[in-house]
């Protein structure tokens, strides 16, 4: 892995600028090991983060910051997201389309 990936936090700054997340209910698709998710997940009211990789989700659980206890991590993919109609304000595809 790089010694430092995006230490300037450019990616998360552009995400927040593109779509304010405060108070929103967000589906984070392709969270992987949580490296990017944990940079923004403290902002929304509710976050569901999904990824098909169990090992990556285990890493995400281990690295979850205290401010992100409200984030639900689940093994799922975008083809069959297990959520009711109209249940999210934002769906974020982070390197997953």
């Amino acid at each position: 892995m790089p010694h430092a990936s995006d230490p300037e936090k450019s990616e998360v700054r552009h995400l927040i600028a593109a779509c304010p997340l405060q108070g929103k209910k967000v589906l984070d698709v392709g969270c992987g090991d949580g490296e990017f998710t944990w940079q923004f997940a403290a902002l929304p009211r509710v976050v569901f983060s999904i990824d098909p990789s169990f090992p990556d989700l285990q890493t995400a659980k281990k690295t979850r910051p205290a401010a992100c206890q409200h984030v639900h991590l689940a093994a799922a993919n975008g083809e069959a997201p297990p959520f009711p109609d109209g249940s999210f304000d934002v769906v974020a595809l982070t390197s997953s389309l």
């Binding site: 790089p2 230490p7 593109a18 779509c19 975008g78 109209g86 769906v91 595809l93 389309l97």
Partner: protein, 140 residues
């Protein structure tokens, strides 16, 4: 992928926002920090991503044409990735970045040459160009 986007349309609230954030397939420079500042050792070929990028773009065009989403905004930006040595970069280009980046042997050689001229605190950087696009859910 079209099916997945239709699922995201289904679970979004009316006027909800879909965000597509991903790296682009544009080639970038392999930069070495030397006494002269950041110097390019050559290009990092990201052509392997082109097919995937094109397929993703076609998918989005399809759901826009079907009236499910409208594009609201997009912008490009850079994220920078740093290594302390070429061995670390080579490990990644042969591992987790294997499908994302190819570096020609002459670029490796120039990078090694540039590193030798530095202060001993050289760093290696690959700036990756990304695109973020926001879409609004449309309802009939």
């Amino acid at each position: 992928m079209v099916h997945a986007l239709k699922q995201f349309w289904r679970i979004l609230a009316p006027n909800g926002t879909l965000i597509d954030l991903r790296p682009t397939c544009m080639d970038v420079d392999l930069l070495i920090q030397s006494k002269k500042g950041w110097v390019s050792a050559g290009r990092v070929d990201r052509g392997e991503l082109r097919l995937h990028d094109n397929a993703a773009n076609r998918t989005m065009r399809t759901v826009i044409q079907e009236g499910l989403f409208k594009k609201v905004h997009f912008t490009y930006f850079l994220t920078r990735h740093y290594w302390n040595d070429l061995e670390g970069l080579r490990t990644d280009t042969e591992g987790s970045w294997k499908e994302d980046a190819t570096i020609a042997e002459e670029t490796w050689q120039r990078a090694r040459s540039l590193l030798g001229t530095g202060s001993g605190e050289d760093r290696i950087c690959v700036p990756v160009r990304r695109k973020i696009t926001t879409y609004q859910k449309l309802t009939t």
